[in-house]
């Protein structure tokens, strides 16, 4: 069984490779090379079996606390390029999904995290389920 919690944040970002000049970045990333922003959704999926007494797969209140403290509160209404945890990351949706996975996997209950999805716009969705999966 999988349980997914959906979070929301709004952030500014731009796609920019640090080794490339402005012109090359513009050629590679098009309009995404300029500073802009999105209303993001972050979906955190946990895997497990519900406890036979409480009927709960995981303590959702605890998950909320961890995800907000580790990711949401750090990126909401920020420029993603200025977030220390994302230093060196080109902030595409797929790279954000991987970065958020790497931040969340060690602080959520062991083995609970199944998948992270970053929904950049209603048209763009990116998922990451750990190295090699």
């Amino acid at each position: 069984m999988e349980l997914t919690r959906v979070y929301h944040f709004s952030s500014a970002h731009q796609l920019k490779h640090p080794a490339l000049g402005a012109e090359e970045n513009a050629r590679r990333y098009g309009r995404c090379a300029g500073t802009h922003g999105h209303n993001y959704y972050l979906e955190v999926t946990m895997r497990g079996q519900p406890d036979p007494v409480t009927g709960m797969l995981i303590d959702i209140g605890h998950v909320d606390e961890v995800v907000r403290g580790t990711v949401v509160d750090r990126v909401d209404h920020q420029s993603l390029e200025a977030v220390p945890e994302l230093a060196g990351v080109i902030t595409t949706g797929e790279s954000l999904a991987r970065s958020f996975w790497d931040l969340l996997a060690p602080v959520l209950p062991a083995g609970a995290l199944a998948r992270v999805a970053v929904v950049e716009t209603a048209k763009n969705r990116f998922e990451y389920a750990g190295e090699g999966r």
């Binding site: 069984m1 999988e2 349980l3 997914t4 959906v6 519900p50 007494v53 009927g55 709960m56 797969l57």
Partner: protein, 136 residues
């Protein structure tokens, strides 16, 4: 060639979380505000799988799926108190357990060959996916 078809349903139901064997204090400590009767607009996504029938071009006639889920799930749980339903007599009506109950009711009608997944949304911020027992 296997394909998947999903149809969405909605029902609104009341519930609260209580373990009968526990004291009021323990229930309050574990479940907090969820011990108080409240309700949700649930969304149910039912996914069936199977070969595409060469004659009809369908995995399943979605009107059949609509009838089965309507009679089995929606008529039973829409505008119901989940705690008063026999299915939840010994089970806290968490989203996880609702997914299990819905799966068990639908597998009896649709069969393991066809039913692939039930997804229950408690609200737009929480959903549970269930594909039957074990690690599926």
């Amino acid at each position: 060639m296997i394909a998947y078809s999903t149809r969405r349903f909605a029902f609104s139901a009341g519930h609260h979380y209580t373990v009968d064997d526990w004291s009021t204090e323990r229930n309050a400590r574990v479940f907090g505000r969820l011990t108080v009767p409240h309700g949700h607009n649930y969304t149910l996504d039912v996914t069936v799988r199977g070969p595409i029938d060469p004659e009809t071009g369908m995995v399943i006639d979605l009107s059949e799926l609509k009838a089965v889920v309507g009679e089995t799930i929606i008529e039973r749980f829409d505008h119901a108190d989940l705690n008063a339903d026999g299915a939840f007599r010994s089970r806290v009506p968490t989203t996880e357990n609702i997914a299990i109950v819905v799966w068990d009711l639908l597998i009896a009608k649709l069969g393991e060959e066809r039913l692939w997944q039930v997804r229950i949304w408690e609200d737009p911020t929480l959903y549970v996916d269930y594909r039957g027992g074990g690690a599926k």
